[in-house]
Symmetry: C2
Subunit: 307 residues, 2 copies
């Protein structure tokens, strides 16, 4: 892809701009932090609004829907693909995380991303790297209790990516609800100027929330994985019938999961949508979040209650 980059550079010169742009869809692939920063500096100086979608790649329709949202919100769109070792716990297999850079690149080109930022681990965390960002309270709850250090890794990489990309707006999926709240809090606490947008969860036709980790599921497990969205829908039905007690709602969710032999519930929690603290009684803006093991895959899902 090297020559695309060359064209993109020259396409900013007056003579070439009009002759090349109409014939090629140009997406820059950037591997170096310095190059990304120069690009963002130049775009910002020209008054353009930069939207940013950070991902770990192996893109699915959920990601692409973030990308479409980003296209609308900014004059320029940067998408990053970086499988961040810092957010894998020692028990989790960083090297086995699914990757398909060629396919991701094609998808992002078609979706109209302007830059694909794809740094190496050495570029992001060179020898001697030792700085971390922690959002203390939010990181310890829900998934954080089972994945110690995970959200520190998330907060660290997102803070660093914000400094590299310098976006005006960044879009994250609501499927990773706790991640979204950690990033919102981090951005506010550290006085980043980036607007954080939460994008609704994208689901398969049968209700399964889209996730790169769904690739781990075999046929029977894929069917079993429906128990996550089904249990959330059962909880919604209860709420619609007027049930407010967290205990009753959570027992119902646990029973739905227990009915699926291939599933093991890690946690289900009804919590405040901002602090993520557990609540006893359902209220507007409350979140029901759960994590379920299906075979080797740890899947998460959630709903936000609008009462």
């Amino acid at each position: 892809m090297e020559w695309w980059g060359v064209i993109a550079q020259y396409s900013n010169t007056p003579t070439l701009r009009y002759s090349i742009i109409p014939f090629f869809v140009v997406m820059l692939i950037v591997e170096r932090i310095e190059e990304m920063r120069r690009w963002s500096d130049a775009e910002r100086r020209q008054g353009r609004k930069i939207a940013f979608v950070p991902t770990m790649g192996f893109l699915h329709e959920g990601h692409l829907s973030l990308v479409c949202d980003g296209k609308k919100r900014g004059d320029r769109l940067v998408v990053s693909i970086f499988v961040n070792p810092q957010q894998f716990t020692p028990q989790e297999d960083f090297s086995a995380y699914p990757r398909d850079f060629g396919r991701d690149r094609e998808l992002l080109e078609m979706a109209g991303a302007d830059v694909l930022l794809h740094p190496s681990v050495e570029e992001m965390y060179p020898q001697g790297y030792q700085t971390g960002v922690r959002v203390e309270n939010l990181s310890a709850l829900l998934c954080g209790a089972f994945r110690p250090g995970h959200f520190h890794g998330v907060a660290t990489v997102v803070a660093k990516l914000f400094n590299i990309v310098q976006p005006h707006v960044a879009i994250f999926g609501c499927k990773d609800f706790q991640q979204l709240q950690v990033i919102r809090r981090m951005a506010r606490d550290m006085s980043f100027t980036v607007e954080i947008v939460g994008h609704p969860t994208v689901r398969e036709p049968d209700g399964l929330a889209m996730s790169s980790r769904n690739a781990y599921l075999n046929g029977a497990e894929r069917q079993a994985a429906l128990c996550l969205s089904q249990s959330l829908r059962a909880a919604e039905d209860l709420a619609r019938d007027g049930e407010k007690r967290a205990s009753v709602i959570l027992v119902r969710v646990a029973r739905e999961i227990a009915n699926e032999p291939l599933a093991r519930l890690e946690y289900a929690s009804l919590c405040d949508g901002e602090t993520l603290a557990e609540i006893d009684e359902l209220r507007d803006g409350a979140v029901l979040a759960l994590a379920v093991w299906i075979g080797k895959a740890r899947l998460i899902d959630n709903i936000v209650f609008q009462l």
Copy 2:
């Protein structure tokens, strides 16, 4: 000072700019993060280079020499005064740290600062604040071993201030050598674009390194405090005579401090100037750093060896 701010705002309109600027020295006093950011955005859009000197106030000639340096390095100079509770350990008395805002303001006006950023603790760390920045290895050494959490507090507030002020260059005193290295590492690791400048330690005529904490010293203690710079000079003399063994140099420093009845050595260390790891043999760029208690005051000093 409110009306100065009003004038400074209107002085950007063409009619008022030339009539007011020549007659008034205008220093904006900014207490709100949002206002600071708007100012910095506007200056950056006009292509001006912003220099930044973060302080905890109670300014002395050491600070003012950073301010003069900042004036030369940027088109605009922002100085912050914020006594940061996060960098005081539980045993240290945050409320007793010396403060004199009126005097500081006058000094900075005379020195030609463009903005004095003076946020409240509530503005910097509002309810629910929970994000920290840690530079792990560097923060555990030297002073960090005796002031647990101190450098996490420093890294956190400086990262936040960088996001608020958006400087091109920030100036820190070399007297706080470990702090300088922690900040350099944090800025590099997090991909901040800020150039970090270390400014040489400013000393009293008799050699005492300038510090706001010198205000804690009574007459006898002020005299006793000379043992810090004198012990460093003794180490320098040894090095000039060809001594390279850290053990010999450190014993000499310890003896100098022990000779002063009012002084108690907390640590003295000969270490690598970047990693701060202890070294056995003197080399170019090595640092001799020490912390000494004189009465209630904990004083630090250091020298960098150029061989």
